[in-house]
Amino acid sequence: MKPFDFFQPQSTDAAIAELVAYGPNVKILAGGTDAVVDLKHTPDSLGLVVDISRLDDLKGISLTDAGLRIGAGVTHTDIVTNLLIAEHAPALVDAARTIGAVQTRNLGTLGGNLVTCMPAMDSGPTLIALEAEVTIVGCSGKRTIPLGEFFIGYRKTVLAKDELLLEIVIPKLNLGKPASFIKFGLRKGQALALVNAASALWVENGRFKDARISLGAVAPVVIRAPKAEAVLEGQAISKERIDEAAKAAVTEANPIDDFRASRKYRSNLIEVGVRRTLTAAIDVASN
């Protein structure tokens, strides 16, 4: 690793002050599972690395008036073992369980996963399907936006240089919403998603209501599949509808062709993934 200076702020304010002071030559370190690997491959010396992994304001999982609040610094292991999440958003637990391996789940944070903004991140789809919102804090104060608007491009979020991701909130309305997550990888352990998908839906009188479908690793950022959702809205639950939605989702994605899988195969996985998550979410709803 090239030399850099290291700073462990005591508060988010102190962290932000450093971000402002240092300008572009700074890197934020949370769990480090991506950031430290990046640091090892950074060709030039960085000015400063700000370690936010111990900031208390980024920790904690709680029920608030807004919904289920998850601090950006919460690790994937925290998510896997948290009873509140297990109760109100179990699909998020399923997703967290598939991330990396035990060691990386112990280090890696939910915020880090979102901010690194890799297309294949496993935290994104479920949160987007549950219409999570994120709160960002910077010099000019806090702002809250839908997670879907947080991602803007390959490894690129709306975060300004002086901003930190503070927390993620699953809105109250969507707590307990039947949802399901699936991931396809090249092996069973430590798999990086070829495609991942999450669906969340209510079932009302045997009909789909507010179905939300989100896909990862199929576009530069995690996406929602509004056309597929529209196929379902208000329709009676049937295998045909699910198949139709799954096919529609394929048209909304733009997966890449790379050494890990072809575009065609990924498209197939999208269809299967959407079908399986919808079916699983319906199962959850009916139990």
Partner: protein, 161 residues
């Protein structure tokens, strides 16, 4: 330089290292504890697994500064002159390891598992070890070793009770 106060295997040390030093480098090069291995330097192989405040992490993915004021357990601290850890015994008796390079990481990952889940299923063990690559053993005798250690621990507790 960053100043680090760290407790390793129960012994407190204060040291100062360049900020870009990983916990793995601190352990291996500064503290002479070479049990944790460098296999990939990217968090893929798990050969550098150590416990930080009781939690299994990849020492190659943690900066030494992040381990400041924390307790680290490396493979060298698992046994003392009186007693081996049951995992170490079981691994020796069953021939769980071959070249042994992945061993320290595997044993600590297994310890992390059984500290929280003293009676894991084979599937639990597989999941707990999926971050530790091994090229020699096919994991079979490693899994058997973890299961045997758990039985031994359970037996010892039963006797005590």
């Amino acid at each position: 330089m960053v100043d680090i106060t760290i407790t390793v295997n129960g012994e407190k040390r204060i040291t100062s290292v360049p900020p870009e030093t990983t916990l793995l480098k601190l352990l291996r090069e500064k503290l002479n504890l070479t049990g944790a291995k460098l296999g990939c330097d990217a968090g893929d192989c798990g050969a550098c697994t150590v416990l930080v405040d009781g939690v299994a992490v990849n020492a190659c993915l943690m900066l030494a500064g992040q381990a400041n004021q924390r307790e680290v357990l490396t493979i060298e601290g698992l046994a003392d002159s009186q007693k081996f850890h049951p995992l170490q015994k079981a691994f020796e008796e069953l021939g769980s390891l071959q070249c042994g390079f992945c061993g320290p990481g595997i044993i600590l990952s297994a310890k992390y598992l059984i500290d929280a889940h003293p009676n894991p299923s084979v599937e639990d063990i597989r999941k707990a070890l999926s971050g530790n690559l091994c090229r020699c053993t096919g994991y079979t005798k490693i899994i058997e070793g973890v299961a045997a250690a758990c039985r031994k621990i359970a037996g010892a507790t039963d006797k005590a009770a």
